[in-house]
């Protein structure tokens, strides 16, 4: 039990190292100069000497390897650095931003998984029936829809034309986070969460359906029907159980995509979450913040995958005896 866990942890550390290196390399290759981005329009009023002074204070004038090693050393001591964009410690920015994103991510993920699974099981129960055909059409359409486009359409219809949902942000302008009521928060969360969950529904539906079809044609299903079971009985007792495996895999594997989708959705809805912070950090070359977010995301996705592996064993008894 200990050995596989250690192996998993070592692998996780290796993954995080590679992610940090890749993210740092990309930032080095970025055409955006951190000092220029920091100064913004005031860049014209600053003399070259002052610029050099800022660069020196930040260590931006040192070679890239040294910068990276310096950052790595601080990171290992638990010091994530200072975000220039938000003028706050990186750990604090990630903490508050993640807490803002969490309800969005969690509700979207849960919604996508549950709705996708239910639709897949229903479609797979009656292959070729009209319900199946409509669910498939819906899933194919959804699978080929870009997130941001769907978000914009949703905004146009529900916020602008119908006026049912707010146009932006996590709360009304001029109100601090602590003053928001739960109802207001949910109201602001509704449309972004719905848009983001639609992204994952299609995949889970189609994969669940495929597994269902396989099962409904299997000897297990034939045997159950021979016992006098109805198709619905076979679908729920045997089908849903078997379809759990691909659905779980996808649900946890899609955590990364969910993060990616949340960047686009948060951008369109101006939702002040981690996704938007990522975009800001990238556009203004906030290296410490971006590196930390990349690491955090990688950690989040890895933990998700580890959870999925653990859950398989709950569902499929055949996996319980062997350790990876």
């Amino acid at each position: 039990m200990i050995a596989p866990l250690t192996r998993r942890l070592l692998r996780l550390v290796a993954v995080l190292g590679v992610v940090a290196l890749a993210a740092f390399g990309l930032m080095q290759a970025s055409p955006i100069d951190p000092v220029d981005a920091y100064l913004g329009p005031q860049v014209a009023q600053v003399s070259p000497e002052q610029r050099a002074l800022i660069a020196e204070r930040w260590g931006a004038d040192q070679p890239a390897t040294q910068q990276f090693l310096h950052w790595l050393g601080n990171m290992l001591r638990g010091e994530l650095g200072w975000s220039r964009v938000y003028n706050a410690p990186v750990s604090e920015v990630i903490g508050t931003r993640f807490m803002a994103s969490l309800p969005l991510l969690a509700s979207a993920w849960l919604g996508a998984t549950l709705i996708g699974f239910a639709l897949g099981v229903i479609a797979g129960t009656r292959e070729g029936g009209w319900v199946d055909r409509w669910i498939c059409r819906y899933a194919y359409t959804l699978a080929s829809t870009p997130t941001f486009w769907l978000a914009i359409l949703g905004l146009l219809l529900f916020s602008v034309t119908l006026g049912w949902t707010p146009v932006c942000c996590a709360g009304p302008a001029g109100v601090t986070r602590d003053e928001l009521s739960l109802a207001t928060r949910l109201h602001h969360l509704l449309l972004p969460a719905l848009t983001l969950s639609l992204l994952g529904v299609a995949q889970i539906t189609l994969h669940t359906r495929a597994r269902m079809l396989e099962l409904m044609r299997s000897e297990v299903a034939l045997h159950a029907l021979a016992q006098g079971a109805s198709r619905r009985d076979v679908a729920w007792r045997h089908g849903a159980r078997h379809a759990c495996l691909p659905a779980l895999t996808l649900a946890f594997a899609s955590l990364g995509e969910l993060f990616g989708g949340s960047m686009l959705v948060e951008q369109v809805f101006s939702y002040p979450g981690l996704g938007r912070a990522t975009v800001e950090a990238g556009l203004r070359s906030d290296v410490p913040l971006l590196l930390a977010i990349a690491l955090f995301t990688a950690l989040f996705v890895s933990v998700g995958n580890a959870l999925a592996d653990g859950l398989y064993r709950l569902v499929d008894p055949r996996l319980r005896q062997v350790h990876p």
Binding site: S218, E219, V220, L222, H223, A224, L225, A226, Q227, G228, A229, D233, R237, H238, R241, H242, V315, D316, P317, R318
Partner: protein
């Protein structure tokens, strides 16, 4: 009485894009199964024995076209009646161990089978059926992959008997078992017949079928050639009507181990 009367079965398939053709699988199958009897259906693999079993319980694939008639106790056994009686009066013991759901504990699958058959106390019925086949205590709680082949066969048997059906169709129930387990399964079928059930034993193993069967139907290339009492299979097979049946009997290692003369079999193939 369960009667199969001149049953024929075709599968429709497309040849190219538009042309549809019928592929014949069963040509002329007739037999009648009586309560209290083990009736063996013996034939080579691919002769259509399993399709006959599926036709009786009414679970053929959608592209199958059935002709002829099935009757149960004198009344036609048509699709709605098959659906109503499946599990309750007609039970199938499937050929493949893959028929067990790998994700569900054995005793639970037997309970489901009892529930589907409409038994009033499914748990107790499952317990009883499992005890009858000798699966007690911990072994009944195992998952299918933890069972040996013999145990899995016994679970399948328990699933078929938990619903207390009167007619059992056993499709190769002893295939892949060692002699002790094979005899165990066959004896169990014999006991069920002695208890008043009608048992159709589909097999390609004539020698061991004879040890429990009352009557034997010889099946070849989608046709039932002849039905003979089990004691007709003795000596040089003089009591058998068809050449194929005689050849099959004499080809057994215990008998002449004779390769059949080509002219006796060829016209039938």
């Amino acid at each position: 009485m369960l009667e199969i009367d001149h049953l024929a079965l075709d599968f429709l398939r497309y040849r190219g894009l538009w042309q549809r053709e019928a592929v014949p699988c069963l040509r002329d199958v007739s037999l009648s199964l009586v309560r209290g009897e083990v009736h063996a259906v013996v034939g080579a693999s691919g002769a259509g024995k399993s399709l006959m079993a599926q036709a009786i319980i009414g679970l053929l694939p959608g592209n199958a076209r059935l002709r002829g008639e099935l009757r149960l106790d004198g009344a036609p056994l048509d699709a709605p009646r098959q659906a109503a009686l499946r599990g309750k009066r007609l039970a199938l013991i499937p050929q493949s161990l893959a028929a067990l759901d790998p994700l569900v504990r054995s005793h639970r699958q037997v309970t489901w089978a009892a529930q589907r058959a409409g038994v009033s106390a499914p748990r107790a019925a499952a317990e009883r059926a499992l005890t009858e086949v000798g699966m007690v205590g911990d072994s009944a709680r195992r998952y299918p992959h933890q069972l040996s082949g013999g145990m899995a066969r016994r679970v399948l048997l328990a699933m078929a008997t938990a619903g207390e059906a009167d007619w059992l169709i056993a499709d190769e129930p002893s295939v892949g078992l060692d002699p002790a387990h094979r005899d165990g399964v066959l004896d169990q079928l014999r006991r069920l017949a002695d208890a008043g059930k009608g048992v159709l034993l589909i097999t390609h193993d004539l020698r061991h079928a004879l040890s429990v069967a009352d009557r034997v139907t010889v099946f070849h290339a989608g046709t039932t050639l002849e039905t003979a009492p089990a004691d007709a299979f003795q000596g040089r097979g003089k009591a058998l009507a068809s050449g194929y049946a005689r050849a099959l009997w004499r080809a057994l290692p215990d008998n002449d181990f004779a390769r059949p003369p080509v002219h006796e079999v060829a016209p039938l193939a």
